[in-house]
Subunit: 136 residues, 2 copies
DNA sequence: TTTTAGTTCATACTAAAGTACCAAAATGGT
DNA sequence: ACCATTTTGGTACTTTAGTATGAACTAAAA
């Protein structure tokens, strides 16, 4: 919230500066009107894209973003997470091993640890829980 | 694709008109420079919001809807689809059987048929493919 | 009515997945 | 250098998943 207010404050300040600058530039004839219009257009286009992205993020995209903090809270290691990604891609333990250049035994160890950390009985359940927790 | 080209064509046309109008208005002194800048700003802000919304829709909202037509095209039966849902919920064959009031054998039959229809080797791969095809 | 597709279930089998336990390297911070 | 954690991988085992095949029943379509 504080961040939002700060951003909007800076934005308004920048716009006022731009406004004054364009008037000054016009009067002193340093810049052509086309250039000024182009600058205004680009700036406001960018603001439109930015504002829209922000507001959509809050409502629709939450489920698309990965909660890295939760991964750490669950004490899931790097390698375990890579294995989880492999599972979500529908790979077998052997295939995950080939992808990560380790043996199938190693993958099984990671999977087993992953399941207990996610409190899952099966890899499919792990996927469902991981999606629910927004870590994949 | 054709639609996109049409929209962009009209957009460019509208901008050119706006451009010429602003120059004319300035020369003839009918409008103040502040008003023109404000119009440009509002128009480009709206364009920014519009473009952004369109591009986000294509990526995130389509994937939320189930393609029932594709399910029929793949010749996936009612019961097989119910089993697929069970798989996506992370259930074992036994648990799916309990949920649908059939034996584990029956579930295995459905799963096996489902895998060949989805061209998958494992249930996790079936999930990945089904998501890709937007049937779950 | 015969056919077709879907659902059900069983047996017997093979292949993966998952658990339990152990142990050796590698890594990273204090 | 030392400690804690991660990563690795093995053996032995149990459980679950998946295949192949055959068969019975149902409902709807031809």
């Amino acid at each position: 919230m504080k961040k939002t207010i700060l951003v909007f404050g800076l934005l308004i300040l920048a716009l006022l500066l731009l406004f004054q600058f364009s008037k000054y530039a016009l009067v002193s004839n340093n810049l052509k009107i086309e250039i000024i219009i182009a600058i205004i257009a680009i700036v406001f286009f960018a603001i439109g894209v930015f504002i829209n992205k922000k507001s959509l993020h809050k409502h629709n995209l939450v489920s698309k973003e990965i909660d890295h903090k939760k991964i750490k809270d669950l004490e899931i290691s790097n390698r375990e997470y890579e294995v989880l990604i492999g599972i979500s891609e529908g790979l077998s333990n052997k295939e995950i091993g080939d992808k990560l250049f380790v043996s199938e035994s190693t993958v099984k160890t990671h999977v087993s640890n992953l399941l207990s950390k996610l409190n899952a009985k099966r890899r499919t359940q792990a996927l469902q829980i991981a999606k629910d927790l927004q870590i994949i």
